[in-house]
């Protein structure tokens, strides 16, 4: 399935989810069923999705706090006085947020970064933005590797970051990483110019090459 359709489907699906009143519990069961079906058809392993749902953590904490800080009439649950509307909000946030994360992960699991960039290009994202994204995706691995090498170098000299006293060391690494990234950008640009780059990318259909 082409990436641009997947992105459109994701946006449409999530808009529907966000616009659904949180009292319609059945609707949410249906949304989840849709996602599970899509995941099953795409053969995404449930474990893979569950492992990556960690990105939700900070806002789950927020949702759990909801019943305690929201206003309105109170109900007693297990001896705790909780706000009714807060409980509903917490449910709404958790349900919508979780569906969003699962849907996003399904897209991520079934789409390579390159396909995604091409899909966004099809969706008429401005060419410059597509190019910037393509470069970011292409060099993400390189820059994070650079970062990892610095971390290994620090660790092999016995550095362990434990408290804010160690920030200067990490910040210097951030500085070095910026200089390395920026200079690499300059080198890449020069290499491209010397091959005739004028600010537009030549079109080439990758799918026909990979066969």
């Amino acid at each position: 399935m082409p990436a641009h359709l997947k992105v459109l489907a994701l946006v449409g699906f999530m808009l529907v989810v966000v616009a659904t009143p949180r009292e319609w519990f059945a609707a949410y069961a249906f949304f989840l069923a849709v996602l599970v079906t899509v995941g099953a058809v795409a053969r995404v392993r449930p474990g893979w999705v569950l492992k990556r749902m960690v990105v939700e953590t900070p806002f789950v904490v927020f949702a759990v706090l909801m019943p305690f800080i929201a206003q309105g009439p109170r109900v007693d649950v297990l001896g705790l006085s909780l706000s009714e509307s807060g409980l509903l909000s917490a449910w709404g946030l958790l349900a919508k947020g979780t569906l969003g994360v699962i849907a996003g992960l399904l897209l991520a699991a079934t789409t390579t970064p390159q396909e995604l960039v091409r899909g966004l290009e099809r969706l008429r994202m401005p060419e410059q933005l597509v190019q910037i994204m393509a470069f970011m995706v292409r060099y993400l691995e390189v820059v994070t590797d650079e970062m990892r090498r610095m971390a290994v170098a620090r660790a092999s000299r016995g550095f362990v970051a434990r408290n804010p006293l160690h920030w200067p060391v990490l910040a210097r690494s951030v500085g070095a990483l910026f200089i390395r990234s920026f200079e690499r950008g300059e080198r890449v640009h020069l290499a491209m110019v010397s091959r005739g780059y004028t600010g537009r990318m030549p079109r080439c259909d990758v799918s026909s090459l990979s066969r």
């Binding site: 806002f59 804010p164 910026f178 491209m192």
Partner: protein
């Protein structure tokens, strides 16, 4: 922290999306003036850098740690337009490839994290550099204050958006106080790290720091020969 799906209602999400599209469009034109045909490779690499930086954990103590958001840092290093672009691209990639930040909240996230922090950080830094004595040593402190102001400002903007399209009825004062208090602390960390990082870059490659361009004096080329040294 990214705003997830379902935090704000659909109309608000669509509205922020429209604003974000306009802001990114304006930034695209501005960035072309900053970088012309270098835009794509350089902005792409800086976006990768911002993404990587957000993965570095700064220990706070008691087992907790935070990470840099990098909006103000990006603005000081590569200028406001390119900064907005880079952070926006980072957010788009995070949302689509890592499910970090909801896709319907993408506009909201771009507005808060890319536009607000970058523009506020840049503006504060610029004003300070105009007022302070024109010395290279002033750039890092100015950037730090810019970073410090940018984080709570973004929290305030979020509170405003929540007042318009929030989905839970928390009292706004509670939310505003909590958001501001918490983000002032985060802002302090952001300021400290930005200060240290900008300082480190200034000592190695001051020419790469966009905000320092007006400050770095035109240095005379000095050619030392045996006669002139002796």
């Amino acid at each position: 922290m990214h705003v997830p799906d379902g935090f704000l209602d659909a109309p608000t999400s669509i509205a922020t999306g429209a604003v974000a599209v306009v802001a990114v469009g304006v930034a695209l034109r501005g960035a072309r003036r900053e970088l012309d045909d270098k835009t794509a490779p350089l902005a792409g690499l800086v976006a990768a850098f911002v993404f990587a930086t957000q993965m570095i954990n700064f220990p706070v103590g008691a087992g907790t740690s935070g990470h840099l958001m990098g909006g103000a840092l990006a603005a000081v290093l590569v200028g406001p337009w390119t900064g907005v672009l880079c952070v926006s691209v980072v957010l788009i990639v995070q949302s689509l490839l890592f499910a970090d930040g909801g896709i319907t909240a993408l506009g909201t996230n771009i507005l808060l994290i890319a536009v607000t922090t970058v523009v506020v950080g840049w503006f504060v830094t610029r004003v300070l550099l105009k007022v302070l004595p024109k010395r290279v040593g002033m750039v890092a402190p100015a950037a730090a204050i810019g970073a410090f102001v940018s984080v709570p400002t973004a929290a305030l903007v979020f509170t405003g958006l929540y007042a318009v399209g929030g989905t839970a009825d928390i009292s706004l004062t509670t939310l505003a106080t909590a958001m501001l208090g918490w983000h002032t602390v985060i802002g302090l960390g952001e300021a400290a790290i930005t200060f240290l990082a900008v300082g480190a870059i200034l000592s190695v490659r001051p020419d790469l720091v966009y905000a320092a361009r007006g400050v770095i004096s035109e240095r005379e080329l000095v050619i030392k020969t045996k006669e002139s040294v002796a």
